[in-house]
């Protein structure tokens, strides 16, 4: 794991409030993969993304699935790889970065908008509308 330089080093015993991670809105993003830095950055974000992505290989094959692991520490792109659970089969695939032509954040970001503040807002809206048994339902398991 690389620790982003932009984050302050922890001073945990002095902190009154705990700063959290800022989650970017990446749904629909097609990152540029022109330079090695762009590739490494994009694949790190792909690993953090809570939805499916579409990986296009240099041989033209497209793989849609969830990126659950990556090795971003290799000295060259040939030494780095993504690990994907494809959407259409129970399997785990390893793909070297060097074989990837394009990446797209095509699936729904399943973490987006699920903050406690959003729940509080929703609760009071429903309460004001006179509803009872208010709650957030789990996402449906139908495929996007």
């Amino acid at each position: 794991m690389s620790i982003p330089d932009s984050l302050p080093k922890a001073a945990p015993h002095d902190l009154e409030n705990a700063p959290g991670t800022l989650h970017e809105n990446l749904e629909g993003w097609v990152p540029p993969l022109a330079t090695e830095e762009e590739i490494r950055t994009a694949f790190e974000k792909a690993f953090d993304y809570r939805g499916d992505l579409t990986v296009t290989l240099k041989n033209g094959q497209k793989i849609e699935g969830y990126i659950f692991d990556r090795n971003n520490d290799g000295p060259t792109l040939r030494d780095c790889m993504l690990r994907v659970m494809p959407k259409d089969r129970a399997d785990k695939i390893k793909i070297p970065y060097s074989e990837i032509a394009a990446l797209a954040f095509t699936g729904k970001d399943t973490a987006a908008g699920k903050s406690f503040a959003a729940w509080v807002k929703r609760y009071w809206e429903k309460k004001a509308a006179g509803e009872n048994n208010i709650g957030i339902e789990s996402d449906a398991l139908e495929e996007d």
Partner: protein
């Protein structure tokens, strides 16, 4: 009631055995996640945000047994997702009990009454019902009204049938210490074996990042909650870990003490951070760069963590690691009231600077 002597003996002899063999990194509890699906959608949980095809994937009983054998930990905790939604959960529990593992099945309790016929009481098996406080606090924390009452119904049913049962409580920024103490009374009156506690922290997979506790707030809150303890309270946790939460001692993170296995493999480095996966437990121990994790590493992702998965195994290791640690555990067990005249346990402790408003059902928010 309480933790069976056989369980204490099993853990003690296991840890001492590891130490005699000179193992520096050994697991105490396997966190076995057989699925990520859940019938709740709590904002504080980062365990369930996956595409549908991932949520529909389960570990098989054989995969679970193989992971347990590979890891070797004497205790197995089964979180999730909601484990009672796994179609073969009873088979998994039965297989682990047959292997003489002490199994803690973590559940929100919503399906407990419906599924309880599938299980048999055993000293090796305990339900752990997630309860985040008194009714209004719990329902608000898990983002659904009515959840507390259903869980309590399930608890009553399980206890009446002779099952071991503990509760597990996660406390977030803005928690009301007085209410938490009353909640402990309520749970002990229900007849639970013991209670587990954990501070919520800002692990980066959690979709909500604004309602977790800093270390400073965690220590202040747990000192408030756990000082001047009432006679009837019983905690199913390491007493030294509770002292750590109260700020009475310091530990280094030992995430290998509670490794996590799920459909992706062995999770690096711990139960809450997901920094990749190893295919075998040996690979997890060998290839994870452990120096990068824990508060002491300076990793900002670990800065606020005081969670059991990183630090309770450290406390257990301390108990059996030195005469001083053992003596401290005996002392903490025998003298567990922690009188503290500076802590007023009869009045609610308002958070001094909550990073978010304390909001409860039944009271309109200020904004």
């Amino acid at each position: 009631m309480g933790v069976p002597v056989s369980q204490m003996w099993t853990v003690a002899s296991y840890v001492i055995g590891q130490k005699l063999r000179g193992r520096k990194q050994y697991p105490v509890v396997l966190m076995l996640e057989p699925l990520f699906r859940c019938n709740l959608a709590c904002a504080g949980c980062g365990k369930i945000q996956y595409p549908a095809h991932i949520l529909k994937t389960d570990l098989t009983p054989e995969q679970c047994f193989a992971a347990v054998e590979e890891c070797g930990a004497p205790l197995v905790s089964i979180p999730g997702g909601e484990p009672l939604m796994h179609p073969q959960i009873a088979e998994i529990v039965e297989g682990l009990v047959a292997r003489k593992k002490y199994v803690y099945l973590c559940t929100n309790g919503l399906l407990l009454k419906e599924k309880i016929d599938q299980f048999k009481p055993s000293k090796y098996f305990s339900f752990v019902v997630h309860m985040d406080g008194q009714r209004e606090h719990h329902d608000f924390a898990v983002c659904r009204e009515g959840t507390y009452d259903k869980a309590v119904d399930g608890i009553r049913e399980a206890l009446q049938r002779g099952f071991r049962l503990t509760t597990n409580t996660t406390l977030f920024d803005g928690a009301d210490a007085k209410s938490v103490r009353e909640f402990f009374d309520d749970m002990m009156e229900l007849g639970v074996e013991g209670m587990m506690l954990s501070p919520g922290y800002t692990y980066d997979k959690a979709p909500d990042q604004d309602h977790f506790l800093s270390k400073k707030k965690t220590r202040r809150l747990f000192r408030q909650i756990l000082s001047n303890r009432r006679e009837k309270w019983c905690f199913n946790m390491s007493p030294l870990f509770l002292e750590y939460l109260m700020g009475r001692r310091e530990y280094r993170c030992t995430p290998w003490g509670m490794p996590t296995y799920n459909i992706f493999g062995w999770q690096k480095p711990c139960y809450l951070l997901q920094d990749g996966y190893a295919d075998t437990f040996e690979e997890l121990l060998r290839d994870t760069n452990w120096e990068r994790y824990g508060t002491e590493s300076g990793n900002p992702k670990c800065a606020n963590c005081m969670v059991h998965s990183g630090y309770e195994a450290s406390a257990v290791n301390d108990t059996f690691g030195s005469l001083g640690g053992f003596a401290a555990t005996v002392r903490a067990t025998l003298f567990d009231k922690y009188p503290d005249p500076d802590v007023d346990d009869d009045t609610p402790m308002a958070p001094r600077r909550s990073s978010g408003p304390l909001v409860q059902i039944g009271a309109a928010p200020d904004a």
